[in-house]
Symmetry: D2
Subunit: 333 residues, 4 copies
């Protein structure tokens, strides 16, 4: 049984159905009926007027967002463990034309206003040093922690005070919202977020993420930059249809709840082995190489995470019946 990554999971049947239903002739690019419904659908979800662009990957969503929040000569504060810093192959530098990531610290890949201030306060206000223009946080974090609305708002306040844009990498935004039990609005625009990469692929989608702008004017240049990055699909309706299917009946939330519940099962079994609290669908636990081997011998696959740690990710489609044996095996270590 695979607990490698939610990236490897299958696509939800409703998404496949939506793709099939979109297989009719319509206007190319994003002029089709599905794409034109996105702004409305997401505005309803967030309770405010937003602009939304489909993009195929989380990396492209993150990096397009950053281009509008930071000039090429500026800097973006993020956590040292942020996906944009360690897992996007320099895509932020490519898209922003060389903006610099300014790295903050904190347990669980989580930033705080203090951690951010520790990064930007020592920067001399002269032309020799890259000045901060934006902050990017990941919710849920790369270690599966959820930022509460209050935590985001504290960072949002700092951003506004310092004149910085605020981006949220929401590759697992659904899992964070499911955990928090709060409205999507609370953890985003009401807390000062300017742009959100709203992930669906890890959560049952096939190849479409939503780049959501809470300051609608920010979307205008991104329309050009999306095309310029080779991301404007000629048959964009197939991406829009995926997103709409995920919003339909709050499928995104149901899937995330299911994955979170599975992770909670594992967390319960892991007890003291947990590296950090489990607030999404990822479980990081301390295991020796021998213990890891013994789990694998039972047929469970997962990533080692540095020395003596393992990462287990539960996907939207894994059932309690499938997960329980791993929980049992962990408990028996």
């Amino acid at each position: 049984m695979r607990f490698f990554s939610d990236n490897a999971a299958p696509v939800h049947p409703a998404v496949l159905d939506a793709i099939a239903a979109a297989n009719v002739i319509d206007t190319a690019y994003d002029g089709d009926a599905w794409s034109r419904r996105l702004d409305g659908a997401f505005s309803d979800l967030f309770g405010t007027a937003v602009r939304v662009l489909w993009v195929p990957t989380g990396t492209s969503a993150n990096c397009l967002a950053l281009t509008v929040l930071c000039p090429p000569h500026g800097g973006i504060v993020c956590h040292r463990d942020a996906h944009i810093n360690v897992d996007e192959a320099g895509a932020p530098e490519f898209y922003t034309h060389g903006a610099k990531l300014l790295l903050g610290e904190g347990p669980g890949a989580k930033l705080t206003p203090e951690a951010i201030a520790a990064v930007i306060d020592p920067i001399r206000k002269d032309v020799h040093q890259v000045q901060p223009h934006a902050i990017s946080i990941t919710n849920a974090t790369e270690y599966g922690l959820a930022y509460s609305p209050e935590e985001v708002a504290a960072i949002g306040d700092l951003a506004r005070t310092r004149g910085l844009g605020l981006h949220m990498d929401g590759a697992r935004f659904a899992n964070a919202v499911a955990h928090l039990g709060r409205a999507p609005a609370e953890v985003t625009w009401r807390a000062g977020v300017d742009a959100l990469s709203f992930g669906f692929v890890k959560n049952g989608g096939m190849g479409a993420e939503a780049l959501v702008f809470f300051r609608p004017d920010l979307a205008d240049p991104i329309l050009y930059r999306r095309k310029r990055a080779g991301l404007l699909f000629s048959k964009g309706r197939f991406l829009a249809a995926q997103l709409l299917a995920m919003l339909e009946g709050d499928l995104w939330l149901a899937n995330a709840r299911a994955a979170n519940a599975g992770a909670a099962l594992l967390a319960q079994a892991a007890g003291d082995r947990l590296v950090s609290p489990v607030e999404a669908n990822e479980v990081f636990l301390r295991v020796s190489a021998q213990e890891a081997a013994s789990l694998r011998a039972l047929g469970f696959d997962f990533y080692d995470w540095g020395a003596d740690e393992a990462r287990l990710v539960v996907s939207w489609n894994q059932t309690e019946a499938e997960i329980a044996p791993l929980a049992t095996a962990i408990g028996a270590l």
Copy 2:
């Protein structure tokens, strides 16, 4: 009836079926079973060892290819009407970090060795002028002309002599091959082509193109650049599956032949109105504004192409029965 663009056409059922069949858990990114079959499948098709990367759009295929053929300070010779020059929103400049497109002339958006020499011979060999490093040709061209193997080889010879890379934008490569009746190898690597953007989306695919390297080592840096451009889908198997479905039983060729045949019907009806020979699935014809309006009044949609011209594109799925009324209407103008 829409003759706007093959971009608007639906997806072939076999492609949708292949997507559905790929909906099982597998390794993320391009480590899955489908992606790993691509090199072999395309090597078979081309009769030589090639490396193939899936990408979602033609623009990204073109631009990734150019990054490996031209440094940021170099130039790429292409036709003034080339898609990379007029319809990609500056994507080549983005991907290549500012390489310069050096524009050649010629009827039907077709380059010749003479036209290319006319661009590069006047360039002083000094550091003040951007030096050519690559040539990009489009087959079939933006005006629906096919380069024969001999025509490509003449350009390939020039490229080799001058030390230039040679890229082929094959957004409608299938249509060109279908028209030429020659092996894909003849019009590509045997004629000196280094990299091919092999288009499938306009020809029945959903959102996957093949970037084919005939010099396999060229693919290595592109693996990084694809990720860095935000193009590495986490569920890449759904792209690879599309490409494999299109190769299966030469579906790509059947679809192209069907579209070409439809265009031939229109060409026959157009007679002297043709702006250029019809060698693919596009028909450019001279019509007055009044004539265009009369066709539209009959329910036919298409693009005006400058003043007094119209572009009609036939898609893989349009039947003779659907096309015949337009042919009749054109003949009756």
Copy 3:
């Protein structure tokens, strides 16, 4: 006697003296007494509050200016023969991160509102095409023509109407002003120019040009971009001192008048051979290869300019006595 280029000419003694006088310890970069006087000195010259940065070359002045007038995904209208298009090795694309030069036509490398409209009007207002964001004109042009204040103002009107920035490449701005006999203000900010590359190196300077912003806020990001481009000299006082020396007693104008007068001598001798009117210090004349050889046999050096044309450039320091023999020789052809 060399008539190759004003780039090859020596430095005016007053400039060397100013450099020597600046050879005392002072604050590094642009915090020194000389650099801090620039804004004031140029504001006096232009009769309005300007911000001025020294840069070492005309190319860097031009390209820094363009970065603030055009985003990476935008386009800049310039003449096909503009220095930024043909002689800067892709520097505009480097500095702007890939903005596209949109090329206009017109005799003598001169743009008109009509020529600019002919470039931008056909651009579809969609994301597939690079949209214009700025215009760059060269005064005097690359063929030695001066734009009058009225001609600039007509372009300035167009720029404002279309929402475009307006840059003036003034590598030979002094020569243009000397020819026009009008105030520098009239041909720049009063006519709608946002930023001027004010050249001094060709006119008796050593290695300093002035980048002048008539909209002072535009200078702020350029301070960072200048450093980021490796152009912030640690001993910047030596650049500022050059500029101040050139402004002192209107040395810039005297030098330009001298060079223009020399060119006028040649123009008079050239008569019907002139390719275009001589309105600065460059003379383009029609000569056969044999005639060019005969002039060279007499000891005169110059560039061939395409076939059957020659370019003669007179420098600030060439005296009538030195120029007269060439005028005689031309007259005797």
Copy 4:
């Protein structure tokens, strides 16, 4: 008395004389007699065939060198305190088109093979992470430590083993060589250095540094990139003349020795207050805010360096008589 920075110091009279002597007409750009002598003069100095380009600043020298050692999608290992990381405003990212600086640790801003391995060994060899392509070290370091030939060679071995290029930022290379008492060759190419930014401006020059390539073929693309960066001075002879004057009679070495000797005087007085050994012309010492104020009250100027530290820099022209009072004052704290 100012101990802020060697950047603020005056220019050596021999350099000014050389500039004056170069004030004759000659070929523009780098075709002049002075520029053409550079390769030979530096080849003599280094005892091997090198290619040398003049550039105006250390930042431009560093960044141009990096463009040829690292592709846009690659990474460059440097110390966290390296000038290229903290004081060049993102210029490396600009010039390399977004390559990533991979930051190592070590006292005194000095890297070791172990420190470098600690950076690159954890990098997964997959396309999600930026792969190292080059190493950049600073000699003398930003904290005034000199790398010995043996230390450089150890890093050079690592670079060769891992397939990485090796750049040396030699803004104070002269000071390092003066301290080491070893031949320039030993600490550069014989130790595996591919490219050296050989600084002269801090050491008595006005505005010219030498970018030295020990692998001569590396220089070819840099000729284009220098122009493309707006760094190709039209009157390049004034830069070349500065460099030649500094080489003449080993003026560069004499100046560095003088500055180092001055720093040694201060170091001797500082005793236990020294933060690190003084191996060049910079002295970092522990002083309380009150102590710093007392030194300033005596007329000595310098930078605070973080909390409770001060940086004193001695310039080539400061005499023992000028420095002694500060040494006395430090000793009396």
